[in-house]
């Protein structure tokens, strides 16, 4: 039972991340998910120490991080990347201030085998939100990525949609830490989307391929981890990397 729960939870998270990733590439934002993932570490630490759901611990810290970056940007006008670096390093440092060493592995590389029915239900609900919100707003989000001017001329409220998009990224990061830990969530978002882009001839293919790579890498990663005994998070990332390298051969 527990392996099935892990598998389902993992595949949902991984496909939602990949789906979101197809939009992220264009916004040159794929790496934003990385720092956001690191930001979750204090939250993960708290969750591990007090034994509650990692996602619930991670989520407030992602939100806090986004708000801080946003406020600093308004105040200083420094590039977002630079501010993000400041905030995420602080997150990592804070986490290791009080994270017990024996718990560190789960925080760093994730531990999908820990998930129970509650995690699964929570994940399913969040992923349903991500898939439906992103699908409904896909055209507008894409248009904003292509040209914010063009979007606004067409009456798209770009501020609103950017916020929606950021909220979806925050959710997927908070979910992703369960699967691959606080250091590698960016990979979950970026790698399947990059692999898909190497092969796709149009947008539809792009999305389908990204989600398939996301789901496939996760399922095989969890299976292999059962056999080999390595953490699933590590294997999932490595499988994704292997898929990416393979797709570069066929790059159109």
């Amino acid at each position: 039972m527990s392996i099935v729960t892990s598998l389902l939870t993992g595949v949902l998270i991984s496909s939602a991340a990949a789906y979101l990733g197809t939009l992220m590439l264009g916004r040159r934002m794929a790496l934003v998910a990385g720092p956001l993932g690191h930001l979750t570490l204090p939250g993960i630490a708290l969750a591990l120490i007090y034994g509650f759901d990692i996602t619930l611990g991670a989520f407030p810290f992602v939100i806090l991080g986004i708000v801080l970056i946003w406020l600093f940007e308004i105040r200083t006008k420094l590039p977002v990347e630079a501010l993000t670096a400041i905030v995420f390093a602080t997150g990592v440092a804070t986490a290791f201030l009080f994270l017990p060493v024996e718990q560190a592995e789960a925080a760093i590389v994730g531990d999908i085998t820990r998930v129970g029915t509650f995690d699964f239900v929570l994940t399913a609900a969040f992923c349903a939100i991500i898939f439906s919100v992103v699908t409904v707003s896909y055209r507008k989000l894409l248009l904003i990525s292509v040209s914010e001017d063009l979007a606004r001329v067409q009456g798209v409220n770009s501020k609103k949609y950017n916020l929606i998009y950021l909220a979806m990224v925050a959710i997927v990061v908070a979910l992703g830490v369960k699967l691959v830990g606080g250091l590698m969530t960016a990979a979950l978002v970026a790698i399947p989307a990059c692999s898909a882009r190497n092969l796709s001839r149009n947008l539809l293919q792009d999305r389908l391929l990204a989600v398939s790579f996301g789901a496939g890498s996760c399922a095989s990663g969890i299976f292999l981890s059962q056999i080999l005994g390595y953490p699933a998070g590590v294997l999932i990332i490595l499988i994704n990397a292997a898929i990416f390298v393979a797709t570069t051969v066929f790059k159109r």
Partner: protein, 227 residues
Amino acid sequence: MSRILEVKNLTVELEGEKILENLSFHVDEGEILTILGPNGAGKTVLLRTLLGLLPYRGKISWKKNVKIGYVPQRLPFIRDFPLTVEEFFHLKEVSEREIREVLSSLQITDPNFLGKKMGVLSSGQFQKVLVAYALLGSPDVLLFDEPTAGIDVGAEENIYTLLSRLKKERDITILLVTHDLAVVYKFASHCLCLNRRMLCFGAPRVINGVLLSKLYGGEVKIYEHRH
């Protein structure tokens, strides 16, 4: 002819710097207004302000319920996506029929054109796709940012002959930003000379050597030449 745009005392300030100062002009339906000026004159800023994308002081009044089509200069990020021409068009809410109509009025006959990736189009084709995109939804006005004059958009048309033809066929008003003086003489019905302040507004014949040297700075020689 009725007024489609009236601009009064328009001032645009970005980050404390005055980019446009006290501009007043108007556009009537069916006119082709070129906005002429050197680099950094604020031409693109003016266009973006008219589109409602930038904060401003003064008054911009478009005709009620006017539909605006915008042709940006470039779309630098579009190559990041595996978008086909058709998928790009569908970023607007349009019917297949409308897409076919616009393509035929742009004389695009290649049946595989819609399936092409945006990233592989030639610069002429790309410009044509941007014009087509702007035309979807049957706008009353086309705002056009710096078309590249030289490129061949097919069937021996350049972008200006294409626009002249569209104007006739679709009865459309055009506002066009350029730094190319030849365009003004060949193509425009009205001209706005801009260098942060407005230097002239009227029919193209108001442009003379004195004005041009004010506009571009230093001495400008005008070569009248025929191809």
